[in-house]
Every structure is written in structure tokens, then in C-alpha cells.
Subunit: 358 residues, 2 copies
Amino acid sequence: MTDPLTTGATIGILGGGQLGRMLSVAASRLGFRTCIFEPGDDCPASHVTDRHFRADYDDEAALRAFAEAVDVITYEFENIPTSALDILDALRPIRPGREALRISQDRMTEKDFLSGLGLATAPYAAVDNADDLAAAIGRIGTPAILKTRRFGYDGKGQARIMAPGDAQQALADMAGAPAILEGFVKFSHEVSIIAARGADGAVSCFDPGENVHRDGILRSTTVPARLSPAQRTDAVLLAANILNALEYVGVMGVELFVTPRGLIVNEIAPRVHNSGHWTQNGCAVDQFEQHIRAVAGWPLGDGKRHSDVVMENLIGDDIDRIPQIAREAHAALHLYGKVTCKPGRKMGHVNRVKPGAG
Amino acid sequence: MTDPLTTGATIGILGGGQLGRMLSVAASRLGFRTCIFEPGDDCPASHVTDRHFRADYDDEAALRAFAEAVDVITYEFENIPTSALDILDALRPIRPGREALRISQDRMTEKDFLSGLGLATAPYAAVDNADDLAAAIGRIGTPAILKTRRFGYDGKGQARIMAPGDAQQALADMAGAPAILEGFVKFSHEVSIIAARGADGAVSCFDPGENVHRDGILRSTTVPARLSPAQRTDAVLLAANILNALEYVGVMGVELFVTPRGLIVNEIAPRVHNSGHWTQNGCAVDQFEQHIRAVAGWPLGDGKRHSDVVMENLIGDDIDRIPQIAREAHAALHLYGKVTCKPGRKMGHVNRVKPGAG
């Protein structure tokens, strides 16, 4: 572990979307500058950063210039090309580390990793062809869901198999990409736990939030989540198990299914997470600052929840409701500065706070 | 009143210090971009803005380019040269308006304005020479304080007159600048009220905070302040009186002395105010966002206090304590990214939050 970064140090962020934007703001709160690496021109993070490196991930010179302009590198998304990581890694520390990226970039590797830690997951099997799929359905049954092993997000690259007859179409939907079949889990609801681990090995978890998805996209997160005291403890223990196993430094989102037989890990994201946005108005130190603290070698901050919060994502034309939301009591708006609105596009979120309930 | 600004609009901010920095972050939260106009190179606001116009206030071309790049102009300090305002004013709306600037740029004009509204102030008299000063001391008595009429801040441009014999030195300290003699007010403590007025005329006040100064610089603000219910009401009424009289749009800081005979207005600042920093961790919508909302023609947000807060300024080598403060429970740090530390320089602040007490 190196010395903590101090005021004036620069944090490099790969990715210029809303997560990069809010990471950049959190970094400023601690006195740091940021540089954003993002191929897109007018990206959300570019509005609140010291410097935007606008280049592709195969632009070696730009990657080098970026790395040399910063003291440490972090990221807002997990699908960073390995070739780019190789270049950056040689020049500056990358936090969270590459093992977390390697594991989370491939659903199969991730499931194997989680199972290896003794954690419960949905039944799964690798699927590279029709024979694999038939065998997997034979073992796991239907309904099940076929997903590309890599580059999936927000429900993209997924096909449901309600009955064995759906198999052929589902496999076609994968367009030849290596896939994984996951059995359906019967769960009552989904929660996620946002966990942080500092460079000193300290682990701190935010209160679990209860998530509602629609069309594969997170719609809302409510804290507190419906969990028994034992389930809460389990959530913290399994998150700590994952972070410690990876010698992780930073914030991770861990999605969990709540079932009568316990918590089942759905997936992990080695970064700040949409389901942790409530922390901006529910805690003295939010997930973005917690991540920056870890990446900068600072002690983790106080992430204790002081208020109940319901976070609602503003997706697509939800933004037409902004004038009304702006007048609501207890409503804290967070907009991403995206001018072009598309269906399914995350445009912002609102945290509705119930004070004094934490 | 014009239409409210929407995502993608740009807010121009005159001044690139910590107030401009936190205004810029608040603007981003509402989906706006910002441009900062600031002669200094590596200013705090430049780290979190879309564009930094680095030019002097007598650079007419730069002022024009700045105005043309933005939709509305606001400011983080009141001592903006009139010639610059004339150029900007012709191109874009300036909010808060120029009357508030004219009044607050001159302590004498400000006192006349407040008195004209029927508000209590310290006794005062204009002092341009030794004769004026002798007459003023004769009327107001000592102890008293001689201040330059313009360009004073954080205790600068002030000289105490404890006895008539101090008059000559005090006048010399003014270096020929027009001055004002203010009588001492016997007060038990000082509070300030951060008041906002929207473009629609709605007024909303944050809870008053209790201020402690040292060496003329604010050290801490505590909410709730020690005030009787009647004093609280008075504070709101007098703030609304001031804002309405100016048809003000934006946030204003109003400093008040608490005396047995009621509240006495010390001074007003037509901008976000150091004594309002506690709102960042005590309210769903803080003073910076409230200001941006007003300037953007949005409805004011919910500034109700949800927690007790003590804001402590981190001045000069106070920043040596950051490693300890970073480990405190309930402590939210806000650092300004200033690399050079000087005695008396505001480097950041910490909000210590007591949850659920609002």
C-alpha cells in the first residue's frame, strides 16, 4: 500500500457516463482533480472534470498520455479491453485491481469464482453450441435464461428459455458468442449490497437496498430493504468474503436474490452501482466518495444510513416529469446532463428522503 | 420571467473560488453545464466546469465570448467591476440582478438601503476625512469600527477604534479610501439566514445558523441556532423584506446580531454564503442548488433541515487534521482543491451531522 493521495492529486477515470460524472464530483469534494478517458464527445463526466481525454481504447498514445497525467486509475464500467489495461497497468496503479475485472467480465468465470467461495448462485452451465445447450437444459431445466458470457448489461444479450422449444431461437440470439445458461431462481425479491474495501483491508458495507427492475433495467431502490436481521448479516458476510478474496480496493455492487433458503448471489459489479445512488442523500459519505477514498488510499468514511430513501431512476421520457419532481418535498434530483433522450436511456434519478428514519 | 432552463443549458459563473466550485457541482446535479470566468489559472472551480474562461475583468472580448457561451450569468462574489457588468448585462441576464450588486458593493449604500426598509442596523456614518471621523465618533461614540466602504471581506479593510485616540491610525489604515464608521453593537451571538427567492417571487429560507468568527473569519456555523421562536420568525420576515425589495433572484446571506432588543442586520451578501455550507449535509436541497434553481428559473427546492449540523471551516493549516477528520463518524468533508496553503486561507470545511435531529 502506498501513501494516501493528497489535495492536488489526480484520479483518472475510465468511462465518462453518469457514474464517472458522479465519481468526479465526489473526487472534487476530497480536493482531487480528475481526468476522464472516454471516446464519446459530449459525455456526462466531461462537464465536471479537469480534463477529458477523448480517444478510443485502442489509441495507445492517448492511453499513455492519460496514465501519465494521473496518479491512480479507476473505472466506471467493467468491459475495458484487456489490451488497454495492459498499457495502463504498466504506468499507474489500477484500482479496483485487474483480477476483479477479469472475473466480472465473464459471467462464467464470475459464477465459478462465487461458487469457489462457497456462495450460492443460480445453477449454471457454459454454452458454446446447440449440444451444450441441450445438455444444460437437461441438467438445469426450464425456465432458464441464456446470456452472453461477456459485454451484457441492462438486460442486453439475454434470451429467456421458457420451454426446451425456445432453445434454438435463444442460441441464435447469442449470435455465436460464448454463452451461459442460468436456471431461474425462485426469489421473493432482489436486494443489493454496496460494499467498500479500503487499501488498508477495512471493509464497510452500506445498508442493503431493495431493487425493482423493469425490462431488465433498474427502476427503483428502497432502503431499508425487506430483510431479516440474519439475512442482513449474511449479506455483509458474503460481500466481505468476495472483497477479501479479491484483495479488492474500491466499491463493489453485489446483487442478491432473497429466497426462503437464503441469499443467492446474482451478479457482482466491480464499481459503483446504480442501486447505490440512494447513498447520496442517505449517508454522510456516499458510494462515490467511498470509492474515491478507497482508490486514493484514504480511510473509508462513515456510510451509516441516516434516512430512509427511495431512489427512482428517470429513464427515457421520465424526464418529462422533472418539473413536477422539482416541486416535491424531500426530493433530491440528480440529472446527468444528457441532452438526447432515448427509450431505456438513464437520464437521471431522484432520491426521495424520509428524514430521521435511519 | 423567461422559461426555465432545461438540461444542456449553460450557466455562466463569475468567479472561480470555492463558491463557484460548489455552484458548478450543484448545476451539474440539475443537468446544466457551467462556464467559469476567472482570471486565476488553477482555480478551484476550474476542476469541475465544462469550460474556464481565463481572462481579466477588463478583457472585453473575453467577457463577450463568455456571455455568448452561456444562457444566464451568476456570480460567487459581489465586487465585480461595473464596466464588466455593463458588457455582460447587454448580452445575457444577470441573476441576482445588478441592484443587489450595487447595494452590497458599498457598505454605506447597503446601510442606507437596510435602514430605508425599516430594519435595525448598527449606528453608522460616512467618513471621507478626519473631520468626518471626529464628528462620527462624537455622535456614535467608541468603541467603533472604521471600514472601507468597498472591497472589504473576511475582516480586511477594517480598523477598530477603542478610544478616540485610535482615530488617526484607523483613518490612516483606510489609505484614503472612502470609509464608514460603525458603532459597536452589544450582541449575545451572531446568526445568519440564507434566503432564496425564485424567479416566480417565491421566498424560501434555510434554518438560521449560529456563527462563530475568529480574526474576522468565519470559523463555524451551528444549526439550529439559539433563537426564540419569535426571533426565528423575525429573521425570515426581514430576509423576505430584503429580497422582495430587490426583486431578488437567487440566494442571499444575511448576517444578524442577536440582541436583547431584537435582531440587527450586520451585512448582506448577494450570493451563496459560507455560513450556508451546512445545508450540503442538512437538507435535501442545499444553498448551491437553491441558487442554481432560482437562476435557472426553476421552482425553489425543499430546503427543510433534516439534521442538526455543525460546519467547521478548515483554514490554513487546519488541513493537517484532514487524516483525523476523514476517520470521524458523521463527518462530511468538503475540500476545495487548493494546493497552496496560507494562513487565513479557506481550504475546505467539514459538516458534522447529527442525524434525525432536524
